[in-house]
Amino acid sequence: MATVKYDEATRLYPGNDKPSVDRLNIDIEDGEFLVLVGPSGSGKSTALRMLAGLEEVNGGKIWIGDRDVTNLSPKDRDVAMVFQNYALYPHMSVADNMGFALKIAGVDKAEIRKRVEEAAKILDLTPYLERKPKALSGGQRQRVAMGRAIVRSPQVFLMDEPLSNLDAKLRVQTRTQIASLQRRLGVTTVYVTHDQVEAMTMGDRVAVLKDGILQQVDSPRRMYDHPNNVFVAGFIGSPAMNLLDVEVADGGVKVGGSTVPVERDLLSGASGNQVTLGLRPEDLELSSDGQGIPVTVDVVEELGADAYIYGSTKASQHVDDDEDGDAPEKPFIARVDGRRPPQKGETVHFAPKQGHVHVFDATTGERLGD
């Protein structure tokens, strides 16, 4: 087991003028489950492969424990890519299916047996060790494949979208299994996904990348409560945070016809007279007095206890918008009480819950205040 350190690590593909991963700095603790997440082209897979030794590092360094692995070949790094291949061999027992790679590595028989038995215990496969894979269920077969990586006892597990070829149900199941397995094993793990829900439910910490640049690395809770910039705010959370361009007013910001109170300190850092207001769908309340953000309801998604309102609002107005014309309509999502949801076509008003207002600089997109 080991720590992992990206130290100004940079990958520039030949012929490109912009790095795919640009001076990445992340310190991953021993035993930590770190998820790299971002849209396609964000550099998350490239970052993982730099750690695996599959991509050259053009600048900076990568450390595993106290070893500088920047220029080591993949097999000398003591990392395991999990789920690359989970073909099972029909004539071999489950134990042999799990342990054969150790045999190739020249590990002696007793040691192989010991490691296979340990892994089987963790994976609940002990009763099946002498059986053939044919006798196993789909989920058990998948655990055998995980076992193959576990018995190698690498310093770091690397997983690149391991669930992408599973159907939705199996994906949720396997997600839980991987996360709990990782906690039991305590092996440092770096996991890549484009799915922020996966990232938030699995990671001890989540690193959000965009255009090769690290946006934020934090615990899921902190990431959700305290996004560093507009990109992270919009990317993390489902449904996504509402982001409205609004004007600074006395004691708050002007939204629709009314003023939403925002602390003065928070607004004092803004570079202009405008800010971006971030409101999570779950941090809104219907207001009865016609004050707040006017929203026209398009769709009501009833989920029992809660309902989601998908609508639009004209409350967002950017300085660059044509001042004489109508404000543009922006989509707006809010969670409401499922027992008395507004009706489709209705116009309702939402006010943010106290203390759940995010404010970002309209120019830089950076979070204002702390």
Partner: protein, 416 residues
């Protein structure tokens, strides 16, 4: 969602397949072979307009990605199976969505490695398969393709004048790059070694591996063979100014290995006494391209080498070295090649590909001549081969098998 078929040359008969049924449950009447074994994905072989198609059920994005990848690889002239299309937007009878299907054409006369191990075996079969896989991997790497799941089961093998030629079957994990880093190539090799060892250990456990063959030892050969070939094809070579013949020598060696040199860099050190050469662009298929140009025959590389040797022997024997090569090749085709390949009765035509048959008959003639202590005429060799050797060979035109199939499964066609 409506059913959507993406295909380069769509066959309307595709619409008749039971797309509203999970592939696993497709009725036997559609299948070219019965499913066996366990596999990562559900794969079935179906009959369609007199051909065999492999159908793999996977998620739509993956199916489309693999389809495009295979098309790209084919365009780069790499040996892969031929993608036919993707069927997506499938729903079952209850309206529930089903995964997409990737369709590829079954490669005629190709063999899954397991089929080879269940036949009575030459002791070096495993080694010859590894050699073929190493050549395939080098070709893919030269083109910038990182496979990600190199294994015997993800390739198909065609007989190639006593050796094998390997084709890529599964490109699901692959990525095409401008060029590969050493780390990417090493990683592919590492995956190859582990997978091959696993596959051979499995054959051993099933009693299919010849006595005394060591899976681990054989699996490490992929690294040796690959590295030798890679270095020969791409490595720099230094020599003294006076040894300029070594430029031609290097090109000849590469031709011998079946590669053409499209670009070779030559540089000298500052005082010009040392020369360094390094192939920059090499192209597989040196012999098969030449044979195709001369005769129109499209065959594997070793087969082409064999046929070209025979063509050269024909030129020499008939004292026609000064004649136009194409004209002599035309005569050779009509007088030597075609009589042999046409001598096979129709019911035995599914045994071997014509070029492989030609190679076998020449071998057979050599053994007969040695045995008789004189030159046996070609006609006699053909007749003897067709009556004594060929009938006992297995039908190899349509051997299909899923990646972890336990036994070879031969496509069953109705007699129509």
């Amino acid at each position: 969602m409506a059913l959507s078929i993406t295909a380069s040359r769509p066959d309307p008969a595709l619409l008749d397949l039971p797309w509203d049924t999970p592939l696993e449950d497709w009725p036997e009447e559609y299948l070219a072979a019965l499913p066996r074994g366990i596999s990562r994905h559900v794969v079935r072989f179906v009959k369609l307009s007199g051909r065999v198609l492999a159908v793999k059920e996977i998620k739509t994005v993956l199916a489309e990605r693999e389809y495009q990848m295979l098309r790209l690889l084919r365009r780069l002239d790499l040996p892969t199976v031929e993608p036919v299309g993707v069927v997506s937007g499938r729903v079952d009878k209850a309206g529930e969505p089903l995964d997409a299907c990737l369709l590829t054409r079954h490669l005629q006369f190709s063999l899954p490695y397991r089929a080879l191990f269940s036949q009575s075996l030459r002791p070096d079969t495993a080694t010859r398969l590894i050699d073929a896989l190493a050549v395939l991997l080098v070709k893919l790497h030269l083109a910038g393709f990182w496979w990600g799941d190199v294994s015997l089961s993800n390739a198909l093998f065609r007989r190639d004048a006593g050796a094998f030629a390997a084709y890529l079957v599964d490109a699901e994990t692959g990525e095409l790059h401008q060029s590969l880093t050493d780390g990417q190539r090493e990683h592919d090799l590492d995956i190859a070694r582990v997978n091959i060892a696993g596959e051979l250990m499995d054959l051993e456990a099933g009693g299919y591996l010849p006595e005394g063959a060591d899976p681990i030892e054989i699996s490490t050969q992929i690294v040796t063979r690959y590295t030798e070939l890679w270095n020969e094809l791409t490595g720099p070579e230094r020599f003294e100014q006076g040894d300029r013949w070594r430029v031609d020598e290097r090109i000849r060696r590469l031709n011998e290995l079946g590669f053409d040199v499209d670009e070779l860099s030559i540089s000298t050190d500052f005082d010009g006494t040392q020369i360094q050469i390094q192939p920059k662009v090499v192209d597989a298929g040196h012999h098969s391209r030449r044979l195709l140009r001369l005769t129109g025959l499209d065959v594997e590389e070793n087969q082409a080498r064999r046929l070209l040797n025979d063509l050269d022997a024909y030129r020499a024997a008939n004292d026609r070295q000064n004649e136009d090569e194409e004209i002599v090749a035309h005569d050779w085709l009509a007088k030597v090649y075609e009589p042999i390949t046409r001598a096979v009765p129709r019911d035995l035509a599914g045994k071997l590909e014509p070029a492989e048959l030609f190679h076998e008959v020449l071998e057979h003639r050599w053994y007969m001549s040695e045995h008789a202590g004189r030159d046996v005429p070609l006609e006699d060799a053909i007749a003897d081969y067709v009556s004594t050797v060929l009938p006992s060979k297995p039908d190899e035109m349509a051997v299909v098998g899923v990646d972890t199939v336990e036994m070879p499964v031969v496509a069953m066609f109705d007699d129509d």
